[in-house]
C-alpha cells in the first residue's frame, strides 16, 4: 500500500506539510495525491476512533450472521447492497463459511435491534436465517487497544 495511505490510516489529522516532511516529498504532491484518492473514492472519509464504553451511550451493537440465497442476477451483491442501505447496519461483509453476510448493527436498545432483525431483515426476500450476537465490551477497534494506558517505561535519557 502507498505509504501516504498508511500514514493517513494511522493519523488522518497530520497536516499535509508534516506528511510531506515525513515522506520527503513536496507538499503540493502530497495534496494532489490525497485529492486524487478522494476523487477516486479510495479515501471515503475520515473518522475518530472512540472508546464508546467510556461514554455511557444508549446504544447496543449486535453482530448478525445472515444466510441468504444469492439472486439469479447480481449474486450476493443485490441482497447485500439492499441490507447495507439500512442506517442501522454500520458494517456489512460477505463471508466464506457457514453463513454469507456478517452485519454490525446498532440500536438504542436490545429491543430495537431485535425489532430490526425480525421486522426488517428477516422478512427480506432471499434472507434464509439470522443469528444475532450482542457485543458486551470492546477491547480493540481498528487496531487500537481500548484499555491500554500509554505509559513509557523508558528512562528519560539513555546511552
Amino acid at each position: 500500500m502507498d505509504e501516504l495511505l498508511k500514514i493517513l490510516q494511522t493519523n488522518a489529522l497530520l497536516s499535509r506539510e508534516d506528511i510531506a516532511r515525513m515522506l520527503d516529498l513536496p507538499a503540493a504532491e502530497v495534496n494532489a495525491r490525497i485529492a486524487d484518492y478522494e476523487k477516486r473514492g479510495v479515501i471515503r472519509g475520515y473518522q475518530a476512533i472512540l472508546n464508546e464504553d467510556q461514554l455511557d451511550l444508549d446504544k447496543v451493537t449486535a453482530v448478525i450472521e445472515v444466510k441468504v440465497t444469492p439472486q439469479r442476477e447480481g449474486g450476493f451483491d443485490t441482497i447485500a447492497e439492499r441490507v447495507s442501505r439500512f442506517p442501522e447496519v454500520r458494517s456489512a461483509y460477505l463471508m466464506s463459511g457457514a453463513y454469507d453476510l456478517l452485519l454490525f448493527v446498532e440500536g438504542r436498545t436490545l429491543r430495537e435491534v431485535a425489532q430490526f432483525v425480525s421486522e426488517r431483515l428477516s422478512p427480506l426476500d432471499g434472507v434464509l436465517s439470522t443469528s444475532t450476537h450482542f457485543m458486551l465490551k470492546t477491547y480493540k477497534r481498528f487496531g487500537v487497544l481500548m484499555h491500554q494506558e500509554t505509559s513509557d517505561e523508558r528512562l528519560t535519557v539513555t546511552p
Binding site: K6, D18, R21, L23, D24, D152, V157, P159
Partner: protein
C-alpha cells in the same frame, strides 16, 4: 563526592580515574524535571513485538528458568547462524563460533578482555557509543580515538586510521550504523578499511547493533568482505531492531579460537545469558521481516521529518542514514554543546544529549534521538525553532 578518601584510595586506579558517563549526569538532571520531551533516549519507543513477549511468558510457564549452556541454547545459536548468513553475509559454526551474551555490552567487554594484553592499543572512531573508551581502559588497553567529521558524513577513512596506527595497535573497533551520528559506511568505504586491517594485521571488533536500521542505503558488514571473517568479531543483539533492550540479550560470532577465549571469561563471570530471554530471542528470529520492517518505515519517516525541520530552521545536520539518531551542529550559537543542551532543557523542556558525551570531538553537536513518537518530535521541533530564534 562524599564518602571517605581512604576508601576512595582503595579503589582500583583505572576505575577511579574513569569519569561517570556524561549521559548519566545529564539523566540525573532531566529526571528531576516534569513534562520534559526527551530526544535523549537511545532505545526504541516501540513495544517489544507481542509474539516475542507472549513467548517469554510461555517460556516461564514451561520452566525455561535454569542455567543454559555457557554458549547459550544451541537452538538459538543455530537460528542466529542462519540470520547472520542471510543478513550479514558470513558463515559460522553454531557449535563453537557463536556466543550468547548479556547484551552487546557484555560481548564488547569480553572481546576486549579476551584480546588485550596490558598496553595493547585499540583504534576506534569518535563520536561513538559512550562505553567504548571506558571498556578499553577496563581491559587495560590503550584507546586511540580517531575523529570522524560531519563534512564526511561521519564516515571513517583509511587516512584517519593510518595517522594513528602504531606497531602496538592490535584491535580496530567499528560501529556502523553509528550511535550517535547515524553514519553508515558503504561497501567501498569498508573495503578500504578492510584492506588496512589486513595489511596491519588488526583484529576487527564490529558492533552492528543497528545493522537492520538503515534508511536509504543497504547495510554492508565488514565481516562479509574477503579475508575478514578470520580476523573479525561480529557483535549484534536484540536491543534495537526488536526493541528488546530490557531483555539484555546479545551475541558474538567469530573464529572458534576467539569465541572460545571470550567464552572462558563469560563462563567464569556470567555463566550464561538469561534463559527466558534466549527463548524470546528464538521467537524473535522466527519472523524478523514483519517485526522490523514496520519499525524501519516509521523511523525513516521520523528521520525525514526531523532532518527537514532542521533544514527549515537553518540548523546544519548531515543526513543520518541509519540507527535512530540525528547529530546536528549547534556551533553557530557560540556556546558549548553542554550549555546549549542545558539551556534548551531549562527554557523549553526538551532533552537532547550534548555531543561531548560521545567523545571530545562531539563538541559543537547535540544528539537527537528520533526513537520517540511523531507527536513528540513535532512538538520538540516547535520548541527548538522558538529556542534558537532567540539565540
Amino acid at each position: 563526592m562524599n564518602g571517605s578518601p581512604s576508601l576512595r584510595n582503595r579503589i582500583n586506579a583505572t576505575v577511579r580515574d574513569i569519569p561517570r558517563s556524561g549521559i548519566r549526569d545529564f539523566f540525573d538532571i532531566v529526571s528531576t524535571m516534569k513534562d520534559v520531551i526527551s530526544l535523549g533516549i537511545g532505545e526504541p519507543d516501540f513495544d517489544t513485538p507481542w509474539h516475542v513477549r507472549e513467548s517469554t511468558v510461555f517460556a516461564l510457564e514451561r520452566g525455561a528458568t535454569h542455567y543454559t549452556s555457557n554458549f547459550g541454547y544451541l537452538e538459538l545459536r543455530k537460528a542466529l547462524v542462519k540470520y547472520v548468513r542471510k543478513n550479514f553475509g558470513a558463515e559460522y559454526n553454531p557449535e563453537n563460533e557463536v556466543l550468547i551474551t548479556v547484551g552487546v555490552s557484555e560481548a564488547l567487554d569480553l572481546a576486549l578482555r579476551a584480546l588485550l594484553t596490558p598496553g595493547d592499543e585499540v583504534l576506534y572512531h569518535e563520536p561513538c557509543y559512550v562505553s567504548y573508551r571506558a571498556t578499553i581502559l577496563f581491559a587495560h588497553g590503550v584507546p586511540l580515538a580517531v575523529e570522524t567529521k560531519a563534512e564526511n558524513g561521519f564516515r571513517l577513512t583509511r587516512q584517519m586510521l593510518e595517522a594513528q596506527c602504531t606497531p602496538k595497535t592490535k584491535v580496530l573497533m567499528l560501529n556502523f550504523p553509528n550511535n550517535p551520528t547515524g553514519a553508515v559506511m558503504s561497501r567501498a568505504d569498508l573495503e578500504d578499511i578492510a584492506a588496512f586491517a589486513r595489511e596491519r594485521d588488526l583484529i576487527v571488533i564490529t558492533d552492528e547493533i543497528y545493522g537492520e536500521l538503515t534508511y536509504d542505503a543497504a547495510h554492508t558488514s565488514i565481516v562479509s568482505l574477503p579475508g575478514m571473517r578470520e580476523r573479525t568479531i561480529f557483535l549484534h543483539g536484540f536491543s534495537k531492531a526488536w526493541a528488546m533492550t530490557g531483555y539484555r540479550l546479545g551475541y558474538a560470532c567469530g573464529p572458534a579460537e576467539l569465541v572460545e577465549a571470550m567464552m572462558k571469561i563469560h563462563q567464569y563471570t556470567m555463566l550464561c545469558a538469561s534463559s527466558m530471554g534466549q527463548k524470546a530471542a528464538i521467537e524473535a528470529l522466527a519472523r524478523p521481516e514483519t517485526d522490523i520492517g514496520e519499525m524501519v518505515d516509521e523511523y525513516r519517516r521520523r528521520r525525514n521529518y526531523i532532518v527537514a525541520a532542521f533544514a527549515e530552521m537553518g540548523l546544519e545536520c548531515h543526513r543520518p542514514l541509519g540507527a535512530f539518531y540525528a547529530f546536528p551542529s549547534v556551533k553557530k550559537f557560540g556556546m558549548p554543546a553542554k550549555d546549549f543542551a542545558m539551556r534548551f532543557l531549562h527554557e523549553e523542556k526538551v532533552a537532547v544529549v550534548p555531543g561531548t558525551a560521545f567523545g571530545d570531538c562531539g563538541e559543537g553537536f547535540v544528539r537527537c534521538a528520533y526513537a520517540t513518537s511523531m507527536d513528540n518530535i513535532k512538538e520538540a521541533m516547535v520548541r527548538l525553532r522558538r529556542f534558537i530564534a532567540q539565540k
